[in-house]
């Protein structure tokens, strides 16, 4: 399977935060969700993918091309949506289109107006007067109108109300019908991903914890519930993190077979949602 985004051994150091030796591959033709807590390094990673930041070490390739030689060719093929509004605030969508459109060789005016109609966006209203949801739709319309093969989005659903969010997710799914598209988007709202993602990349403290298909995540992780007496130094080893309560414990495991062998029928093993996985992985870092 072809990798559209390929980060190899990428490091970036800031004051008080760093990304260390990250390897991240994004597969062509799928939706990859990029999750992690606030400050885990999602935006930094995306900025390196967009060449807004240059890594201190390592290699960033998109479509198999590097930014040093193929900056324009790469960006021609990417549509981007950022968390905040990056468009000139006081300007209306028509003028913004007049700036963004001509930058792309494959800009399609008819397609842009199709999205404007579909999203019911006003062309002559200043973008700063748009609601958060409308701003996101405007970014999306601009990102989709040049037949981009890869759509990179940084927290597109942050600050959207649930109805807007659902609408957005449906739209993303529609976009994939094209077959030739790849979508990479970061979020900290894991339920977004349960619904649409094919792959999940999870970042924590600047480190990629895993990058697996959503089925693999479901198969590899499980939530285990049982009474606290079952826990001792040996049995605890099967868990990534344990939450103890007077009524019993709840723990995350990535070794379901071992749990079954150790505890048998004395515990309840449930499917762990992405939120459970993220919560427990964030909660206690017990890298054995």
């Amino acid at each position: 399977m072809e990798n559209l985004i390929d980060l190899k051994n990428v490091s970036k150091r800031f004051k008080g935060f760093s990304i260390n030796n990250m390897d991240l591959q994004v597969k062509k033709g799928f939706i990859t969700g990029f999750i992690g807590a606030n400050g885990a390094g999602k935006t930094t990673t995306i900025k390196m993918m967009m060449n807004l930041l240059k890594p201190d070490a390592g290699e960033v390739k998109l479509f198999g091309l590097d930014y040093k030689t193929y900056e324009k060719e790469i960006k021609e093929r990417i549509g981007f949506v950022y968390d905040g509004n990056v468009f000139f605030e006081g300007m209306n969508l028509k003028d913004i289109k007049r700036i963004v459109g001509p930058a792309y060789k494959r800009w399609d005016d008819a397609l842009f107006y199709k999205y404007i109609d579909q999203f019911e966006l006003p062309l002559n209203k200043a973008i700063k007067k748009f609601s958060k949801g409308m701003q996101m739709k405007a970014s999306l319309a601009l990102a989709l109108s040049h037949h981009a093969e890869l759509i990179i989005m940084d927290e597109p659903t942050a600050g959207l109300d649930p109805i807007f969010r659902r609408e957005f997710l449906n739209l993303v799914q529609e976009l994939m019908l094209d077959g030739n598209r790849t979508i990479f988007f970061s979020t900290h709202i894991t339920t977004d991903l349960d619904r649409i993602a094919d792959y999940i990349a999870f970042i924590q403290g600047g480190k990629l914890v895993f990058n697996q298909s959503i089925h693999e995540v479901a198969e590899n992780y499980a939530l285990v519930k049982g009474s606290v007496e079952l826990l001792d130094r040996d049995t605890e080893k099967a868990f990534i993190h344990i939450h103890r309560a007077p009524t019993g414990f709840e723990a995350l495991t990535n070794n379901i077979a071992e749990v079954e062998e150790t505890f048998g029928n004395t515990v309840i093993i449930e499917r762990a949602s992405l939120e459970d996985v993220m919560y427990y992985l964030e909660g206690g870092v017990q890298h054995v």
């Binding site: 900025k47 967009m50 060449n51 807004l52 930041l53 240059k54 900056e71 324009k72 060719e73 960006k75 021609e76 990417i78 981007f80 950022y82 905040g84 509004n85 990056v86 468009f87 000139f88 605030e89 300007m91 003028d95 007049r98 700036i99 963004v100 001509p102 930058a103 792309y104 060789k105």
Partner: protein, 201 residues
């Protein structure tokens, strides 16, 4: 590249409406033609920097299929284009209102603009956001106030320089100065490109 330059006009369409009254104020208050040429040349490029210094603008431009080299080049080229347009416009108004001006005024005005731009542009990319506009404005006002008296001082107390300048033919003097300014502008362009390529957004 042309699109990058064109964006100034789209962004500043309202400011452009004020441009003509702005020039007229200088002309009708009988300001020196050099000053009028100089100030009107500044109008568009320096307004543009007000937008360019915003982080969002840089994120947007750098996410579009442009290289950082092109973004800087568009800035330096459009400054020259704006200067030429302003000179044409100001000359026209000066002519219409029957004010006297000479080619020397145009040459000095545009020379000073390029000189000042050569120093100001790299500073825009070097300095921290938010302070740039104030710093440039203040340094411009200070230099306008100080430079004439510095020149006077040099003229009065350093007859050697005066003699040297006087000994040159007008053509040599002007060619020399034009060449000097051109070299400085090119140097400034190079420095801005290096600074901008190292920036993180």
């Amino acid at each position: 590249m042309f699109n990058l330059m064109r964006r100034d006009l789209i962004i500043q369409k309202w400011q452009l409406l004020v441009f003509i009254p702005f020039i007229l104020v200088f002309i009708l208050t009988n300001s020196h033609p050099i000053l009028t040429f100089l100030v009107s040349s500044f109008y568009i490029p320096f307004n543009a920097y007000y937008y360019d210094e915003k982080a969002e603008t840089n994120i947007l431009l750098n996410s579009l299929p442009y290289t950082r080299k092109e973004i800087i080049a568009s800035r330096y080229l459009s400054a020259i284009v704006c200067m030429v347009l302003s000179i044409v416009l100001v000359s026209l108004f000066l002519f219409v209102f029957g004010k006297n001006f000479t080619l020397t005024h145009i040459a000095i005005g545009s020379g000073l603009f390029l000189l000042f731009a050569s120093f100001a542009f790299p500073l825009f990319y070097l300095l921290k956001q938010g302070h740039i506009f104030t710093i440039v404005l203040i340094s411009f006002l200070v230099s306008v106030a100080v430079i004439p008296s510095v020149v006077d001082y040099l003229m009065d107390y350093m007859p050697m320089i005066t003699n040297f300048i006087a000994s040159l033919s007008t053509i040599t003097l002007y060619t020399g100065l034009a060449l000097g300014v051109a070299i400085l502008y090119a140097l400034s362009w190079g420095i801005s490109t290096i600074v901008y390529q190292r920036k993180a957004f």
